[in-house]
Subunit: 216 residues, 2 copies
Amino acid sequence: MASSLSSRLGANNAIAAPVKVSFKAQMLQAREDAIVEAVNRLLAEKGFDLMTVDEVAAEVGIAKASLYKHFPSKEDLAAAAMVRVLARAKVLLASLPANARPIDQLKAVVRWMMRLQLAGEMPSLPSQNSSLRANLMANRAYLDGLLQVSDHIGGWIEAAQADGSLNPALPPILVLYTVYSRACDPVLEFMQSSGQHTDEEIVEFVVTTCFDGLRH
Amino acid sequence: MASSLSSRLGANNAIAAPVKVSFKAQMLQAREDAIVEAVNRLLAEKGFDLMTVDEVAAEVGIAKASLYKHFPSKEDLAAAAMVRVLARAKVLLASLPANARPIDQLKAVVRWMMRLQLAGEMPSLPSQNSSLRANLMANRAYLDGLLQVSDHIGGWIEAAQADGSLNPALPPILVLYTVYSRACDPVLEFMQSSGQHTDEEIVEFVVTTCFDGLRH
DNA sequence: GTCTATAGACCGATAGAC
DNA sequence: GTCTATCGGTCTATAGAC
């Protein structure tokens, strides 16, 4: 744990700073990770409005005031969770074989999103809460992450339309939104709650309806 | 106003009841309609959590206490709005030409749902709020309406799978959920907010991706 | 002994309920 | 119009690291 944490702090800090400060920073970072992970889970479970800051503090096992030492508001907590999931998305994108067909890259992204949702790890934010939206739009880390991920996926969309595996008549932005919306598709949880199918079966069903339609 | 109200009350009431009581009932009914319509609009605009009972009272122009004379809780307000939209759905289903192909009936239903959402008249409820779900599941009018609509659509789904126009490998319940989920598809509002397409273009885009998939 | 971070009481606002 | 509960956010006394 210590080595992985110190390595992520970067060489400049690790050398210049005394050991004591480094240890302190490690603790702070570790706690921040625990906070963001708890927020991510609660956001996936109950959504932004129903998640309370007290719950987050209780989940992490720290006082609420300590939470506010790390994040100045509930909105910033949500933003941190979104930044985290975007970072995970970037890891996923980078891990996909670069020589695969664009359409298969897109399917892999959709599968990953749906598995995350079925595992209860996909934070869900209301698209209506204006204060939250304003906060997100002012968050550089979030915007940067979203832009990078969208660019990456957007490249595959254009390539897939160019090679004919994706309907070229659809605006690329529509395709991108359609892919993103699989992350909050209520069909997944409905099918899961019916208990008739395994998670993987559900994923394959929805991949089919998403890419090949209901008609097939 | 009075004539349109008496006609909707039905002949049996209009004849049997004394004028005073009938008039009172008309007023109550008219106010209840106004309440449910306001709830429907606010539910579509802000969702259940962000809608406040005070707003509803203000929108209708009555006191909050009067609201509680009609509906015992916020959850019941939402349920009434859902019952209303289910009733509108039944009218739509009955109005569709009975001799059309099942797949076209389904497309018509999806188009109607999406137009309703784009018009800001589709109430949106969180699938996570447990108190609301419990209330809905205890509401006979809601359950009856939902069952009738689902049966109606379910018949078309099976027929469309039988005649080969719908993928027979998909569980009918998955198709039903997929159709329903078009009522809260975030792609619609994203595309609408981008301002690049008319509502009807958006509807046709999403009908295409829904039935024919992204690949086509 | 000093100083930081914590725990938990506390506050103002607002919502639902009656 | 009032009452109560709850939420986001703050404040203060204190425990523990150095």
